[in-house]
């Protein structure tokens, strides 16, 4: 294929095929055109390698800033460097849950098959980031607060988020009928979404050991700019990592569910 010749040509081909898709779907709504598993499979397959490459570059840049450029903190010494994974992991754990709720609303409203697959593809990564948020938080809490764990509002609501992810995964995999499993899971994802604003505002609403937000939309950040940039680069890297991995994983789910469709049987990967 011409697409594999060079990266520049590759990008051009991706744009070109996007154009073709738009032209083809001019009669219908392009969003619904992409909601078809067949078209989304192709789109996801072209997108994930680029996203994964960008995630790797941002990760390296973020780690370099975080460990080689950012200075020692005047209060916490070198211990503060945990922030470079703790905050991005915590953000992603909340963002992914909201994304699952979003796809679930779409799935229940329009009865699109892709929605359930996207929600399922997101859940394991969300659970992982929720776990990492708790793990890195414990390793940060021990030297700074003197405790691995305290039952305060921020920590407890994040623990509930972790259990919500596990509950979603357990529930959907316990139901043999995949479409029924999707719908049951969608309800958990939507109802559980109430926990996300509770986590976010917990440091404001209750007295807690956990510090307030270091970055917010309304105030200027309370961090030195090199530290802040290191953290933001890591957050972008985790974000792109998530999108790339979820697109990769949803392709596996599409293959599994659409195995009897003619287009799957015609895939070059399946030819003898």
């Amino acid at each position: 294929m011409v697409c594999q010749v060079s990266s520049v040509v590759g990008l051009f081909c991706a744009l070109r095929s996007y154009q073709l898709v738009i032209n083809k779907s001019r009669s219908g709504n392009p969003w619904f055109y992409f909601a078809a598993p067949h078209t989304f499979f192709g789109l996801a397959g072209r997108a994930w390698p680029w996203l994964a490459a960008m995630a790797t570059l941002l990760l390296l840049a973020g780690l370099w800033l975080g460990f080689m450029v950012a200075p020692t903190d005047f209060q916490q010494g070198e211990g503060y460097r945990i922030i470079f994974v703790h905050v991005p992991a915590s953000w992603m754990s909340m963002v992914i849950y909201m994304a699952m709720a979003f796809w679930s609303v779409l799935g229940l409203t329009f009865n699109t098959r892709l929605s359930g697959m996207m929600t399922r593809a997101l859940a394991p990564t969300g659970a992982l980031f929720a776990f990492l948020s708790l793990w890195t938080g414990a390793l940060w809490g021990k030297p700074m607060w003197g405790a691995w764990w305290v039952w305060d509002a921020r920590l407890t609501s994040e623990l509930i988020l972790f259990f919500l992810y596990l509950g979603y995964i357990a529930l959907t995999s316990a139901i043999d009928d995949t479409r029924r499993g999707d719908r049951a899971g969608a309800l958990v994802a939507i109802v559980g979404a109430i926990n996300v604003p509770i986590i976010y505002f917990s440091v404001k609403w209750w007295n807690t050991l956990h510090q307030g937000a270091s970055v917010s939309l309304t105030k200027s950040p309370t961090m030195a700019s090199v530290m802040l940039w290191g953290m933001l680069l890591m957050a972008m890297a985790f974000w792109l990592y998530t999108v790339a991995l979820v697109l990769y994983r949803v392709r596996t789910l599409i293959l599994q569910r659409e195995r009897h469709a003619a287009w799957v049987q015609d895939l070059p990967e399946l030819q003898p």
Binding site: E78, R81, P272
Partner: protein
């Protein structure tokens, strides 16, 4: 360069266990997740290929 030596870097001012415990587990688990996703897709593709081979086989009763 903000570190005087590699020993300095790994010690993290006495917080080495906590900092490297966080980084190690984070990137270790992300790597495990990627490997698992790749394995799962290969498994599904292998299964679909096997099913296809069965379908393409000429049935003996037909001969």
């Amino acid at each position: 360069m903000i570190w005087n030596s590699w020993t300095d870097f790994w010690a993290m001012g006495g917080y080495g266990v906590y900092v490297w415990g966080s980084m190690g587990v984070t990137f270790g688990l992300l790597l495990v997740e990627v490997v698992q996703a790749v394995r799962a897709q290969r498994q599904v593709l292998a299964q679909l290929r096997a099913e296809r081979a069965l379908m393409d086989l000429p049935s003996e009763d037909m001969l």
